[in-house]
Structures are given as structure tokens and as C-alpha cells.
Amino acid sequence: MHNTIKELETKANEIRKSVIEMLVEAGSGHSAGPLGMADVFTAFYFEILRHDPKNPSWPERDRLVMSNGHINPVLYATMAHAGYFPIEELKTLRKFGSRLQGHPHREFLPALENSSGPLGLGLSQSVGMALALRMDKGISPRLGSGQTTDQYIYAFLSDGEQECGITWEGAMLAGKEKLHNLIAVIDRNNIQIDGFTEDIMPLEPLADKWRAFNWRVIEIDGHNMEEIVGAFNRAKSIFEKPTIIIAHTIPGKGVSFMEKKFEWHGKPPNKEEAVLALNELRMIGDKIMNGK
């Protein structure tokens, strides 16, 4: 690993602060999902993803397809902290003329691999990318079809969009094509706009569903840096099928009054709430520095 666990945890905490700061400035947007996925995004961008923030169109880069575009505050915050654009620019979120559109739009921010927002569309696009990559560069020599590639296609999905039919159309095709260069992550935070997923439309047994579609399933604690990094690395050692990492996360993680509350799925903190949230995150930051 390039970073220590402590460094990654500190970075994730900074990204959470940025998420709160940009949301209160924007006055609208999603809070719970971005806070819940801050650890996964941090580990992913700073340990896993092969990319060059100064040269975003580098052809040999990995691709991240964001399917759940509504959690883009964490995407933008992580990209800013990784060096794609100034952290100050995060405050333009959702404003007229901003590169940081309310849902990701690559016409405004070309460093994004795809525009997104409408749920259910990311997995299929990532399947298409993985198929194209395999046509050009071959797949694992263990399947006997030529060259290998170190390039990976990643898809980040929400749990709510497991309710979309197209998610399973994409899953079926990836299973059929044995796309080992495709690694998907589900943010399993159990909430969606109208309530808890298991009340709205039960998803369980979710891991069994994916196994039945011929995917390798890895379940992790989405707040444990070692587990997150380890899961991606294990996924890369699987050559006969695509892998899905089900990351169990706590929506609103790090801000006590937002945690596990679906009411915080789609709204931002007001000024007072933001002050409280930032105070809590500062205390968490101190704990990380002092070894908990």
C-alpha cells in the first residue's frame, strides 16, 4: 500500500468535511450516501484506481463508471482531493455554469467517464467498456485468448438500483462473457428515498442473487480500509468471472444525527447542522491522529 491505514482514514475524514461544506453551500443534494461511501472512495482513488489526475484522458487508465450519480458530492470531493481540480471549486456544486453539475455530466467535467443520475444505467455501460477492452487487449491467459491487460473497469452501484431490471440484464451479460476485468461495488446502505430497502423492495438475499448470475461476491465492511483495499485486490486475482464487492456501509457515517436515517438520503444540512457535523468530524479526525 502507498498510504498507511491512518493516512487513508484521515483523508476520508477530510473528504467527509468537504462533502458537508459543499452541500451546505449548494443548499440541495444528497448527504447520507456520500458520507457512507467516503471510505470506499478514498481507498479506491488513493490505492486502487490506475489514473493520472493531471492527464485524465490517459488511454491506459482504469475506468470508473458511476451508476449512482446522486452521491456525486463524494465523487467530486475525492477527485478534488486527488488533484483533478482545486478543492475550492467544490463550493460551486449545483450552481449555474459550474463544472460540478447536480448529477455528474461529462460535458461539463470531461474527467468523468460517464454522465449519470438516472439509476440502473452504469453497470451495462461498464459491461460494454469491459467487452471493448477485451476485444482490443484480450483477457487472462488462463482463458487462453491472448494478451493480458492490467486495465480494469469499475462500476459503483447503489443498493436501490438493484431494483432496476436493467441492472440484471447487465449482470447476466457480464456473467455470460466471464468479464474478469470488470469489478463492481454496491453501496449496501439499506436506504433509499422512500425508506429502508427491505421495506420498499426487499433485496435480500442479495449476495445469492449475484452468485446465481455467475459473479464472484465479496462482502466487506465498507468502513474498514484494510477490508476495502483487500477486496479490490482479491477481485483482481479472480480470472473466471466478474466480481462484485458488496460494501456494507452506514448512511451518513461520521455525523451522528445523519447515521442510518433515510430522511437524510436526499437533503443537505442547513448552516447550524453543518456546524454540528463539522465539529463531529473534527473530533473524529483528532481521534484518528491520536490512534483512537
Binding site: R63, E107, N114, S115, L121, S124, G128, M129, A132, M135
Partner: protein
């Protein structure tokens, strides 16, 4: 009379004029495009033979992806392949693609600005015995409403081949609309074809009506024009194969020359090619217009000819509407 510069099929008005399904031209065109550009790939949703993608699949099996009955996936997977530099052609029946997967086309192809070609076969009532469920009559409307999408409706198999090759060369989202049935071959390999440029196929010295047609209705319009000429009624026939971007100059020009316009399409009148023509003429050169097409109805089973006539798009109907509009000022 026939515009000789267009080099149309000399046997056009013969009883034994050769006929070929428009979709067959797509099959040949895709093969040519794939031979000259290795980025071209094909995706199909369990209709490879009937959309004529089988020709491509046979020669380029590694560049073909069978998606199964999953048209939403078909569109989004193609978008992903285009993101990696491929030029994907996806084919199905127009009812399913772009019918079923409109939002995937909107978000993952048009909003994302991906170089994907959507091929909707079996459009129009001429699908015949399969019945109304399989006769796409709304696809032009839903495709032309999308920013970045261009819309091509070739009139015969030869034009379909040219349109397919043009689609491969023109970067960005394109919808290609095809018909199932055998259609008289109107054009020849020598007929000029330029993306976005309409062709004046029938010219007259003192036209009183301009017929603007697309797809298989171009043939019916030409037969109607000949019959009208025999009665002393002079018309123009414009083949508007590219509905978007529209050749505004050509449309305004024929409206100016004739003073009246009749549009003919195998599609709902609402939102289709005629609507697009009316949008251009209302703003630039308003003239009386009559719209021939399906009048807010679904199709049904029957032979293609029976259905085209029943829904008012046959030669007799075109002749009647042209006569009717000459009374309008």
C-alpha cells in the same frame, strides 16, 4: 418527370421492378463499413437474422455481441463500447429499440455524446401479419426529439446501404429506420446520397404541389406523381431521407416553387417527418400542408399493401390528397 440527374432505377415504373427489403441494404452496408473500419462492432437483441446483422456476424464473429432479449442493456452496453473507441451498431425491431430503451438512449448515448448507431428495423404498418404490436409508428418522433440524435430513413435497400456507411463515418448518435417488407428499388448505386441533403426525384416545370416523402413511401409518391402528371397535375417529389438535421434549404425551395406541401410517411402524423417539415416551413415559408401518415391509431394484421392502403398511405390516397390540397390557397 423523373429528375434525370438522380440516376434512378430505369425500371422504376415497370411491373417487374426489382424489390428488396430495405433492411437487406443495412446488412450489406454494415459489412462494408466493418471491412473499412475495424472500430465497427455489432450488437443485437436476439434478432440477428431478421435485422440482417447476420451477414456481419458471419464475417466478424469476434466483433459481434449477442445481448439477448434485453434492449435496455443493448443501448447501454453499446454506449460503454463507444466510450472505449468502438463504433457500435445495435439492431432490433424499432418497437423495442428505440421503443423500449428510449431513456437508455437518451442518458447513456445522447447525454453522454457517444458514437452509437441505433438501427430500428420493421418500422411502419408494412410489417404486415405480425400485427400492431410489432409495427413501430412513433420512432421518428421519439428519436428526433433527442438532442444530438440524427435520424435517417432510407427509401430502398440501395439507399439503406449508403445510409449505413454514412452513419459509420459520421461521428455521434444516429438513428437508422428500416422497413421489413420487400420494397421496390427506386435508386441506383449512381444516385447521389449525401447525409443531410434531400434529393429531388421528380421535377416539373410548373408544380402546384410538393410531395415530401421518406422511407418506402417515396416509391408510392413517385407512382402517384406519374399518375397525377397523366392527369395534368404537376408536382415535385422530394426524398427527405435525412429527417434530422433537416435539409431546410431543399424543403423551403420546394415549398416556394409549388406553394403547397404534402408529406408522406409510414409513421404517426403526430411528431413525425411531416411535423418536422411543418416546423421548418411555419417559421420560414408558411404554405398549406397536408400530412399523410397514420392518424393517431395502432396498426393491425394484414398484407403490407392492404395496411398501407387502409391507413391512407397508398398511391390512391396520395393522389386524392394532392388533388384536395390544390384547392387550398
Amino acid at each position: 418527370m423523373i429528375n434525370s440527374s438522380q440516376k434512378l432505377n430505369p425500371k422504376l415504373f415497370d411491373k417487374d421492378v426489382e424489390q428488396e427489403p430495405i433492411r437487406a441494404g443495412f446488412g450489406h452496408g454494415l459489412l462494408e463499413a466493418a471491412r473499412s473500419d475495424e472500430r465497427v462492432v455489432g450488437l443485437c437483441a436476439d434478432l440477428t437474422e431478421s435485422t440482417k446483422m447476420d451477414v456481419f456476424k458471419k464475417e466478424f464473429p469476434k466483433r459481434f455481441i449477442e445481448i439477448g432479449v434485453a434492449e435496455q442493456n443493448l443501448a447501454a452496453v453499446a454506449s460503454g463500447m463507444a466510450a472505449m473507441g468502438k463504433v457500435p451498431f445495435l439492431s432490433s425491431y424499432a418497437v423495442f429499440s428505440p421503443g423500449r430503451n428510449w431513456e437508455q438512449i437518451r442518458t447513456t448515448i445522447c447525454y453522454n455524446d457517444r458514437n452509437v448507431k441505433i438501427v430500428g428495423s420493421h418500422a411502419g404498418v408494412s410489417v404486415g401479419p405480425d400485427g400492431g404490436s410489432h409495427q413501430a409508428l412513433e420512432d421518428i418522433a421519439i428519436m428526433r426529439a433527442l438532442p444530438r440524435m440524427r435520424v435517417l430513413v432510407p427509401c430502398d435497400s440501395i439507399e439503406a446501404k449508403k445510409a449505413t456507411e454514412a452513419a459509420a463515418k459520421n461521428d455521434g448518435p444516429i438513428y437508422l429506420r428500416l422497413a421489413r417488407e420487400k420494397t421496390p428499388v427506386v435508386t441506383t448505386a449512381e444516385t447521389p446520397f449525401e447525409f443531410g441533403k434531400a434529393n429531388l426525384l421528380w421535377d416539373s416545370e410548373k408544380p402546384s404541389v410538393a410531395i415530401i416523402a421518406c422511407g418506402p413511401m417515396v416509391y408510392n409518391s413517385l407512382v402517384a406523381a406519374k399518375s397525377l402528371a397523366e392527369e395534368g397535375i404537376e408536382v415535385l417529389v422530394l426524398n427527405l431521407h435525412t429527417i434530422k438535421p433537416m435539409d431546410k434549404e431543399a424543403v423551403i425551395e420546394v415549398a416556394k416553387r409549388a406553394g403547397r406541401v404534402v408529406t408522406v410517411e409510414e409513421h404517426q402524423v403526430m411528431g413525425g417527418m411531416g411535423s418536422a417539415v411543418a416546423e421548418v416551413l411555419a417559421s420560414n415559408f408558411p404554405v398549406p400542408i397536408e400530412f399523410i401518415g397514420v392518424q393517431d391509431k395502432f396498426g393491425q394484421s394484414g398484407t403490407p399493401t392492404e395496411l398501407v392502403e387502409f391507413y391512407g398511405m397508398g398511391v390512391k390516397s396520395i393522389v386524392e390528397v394532392v388533388k384536395k390540397i390544390t384547392q387550398r390557397k
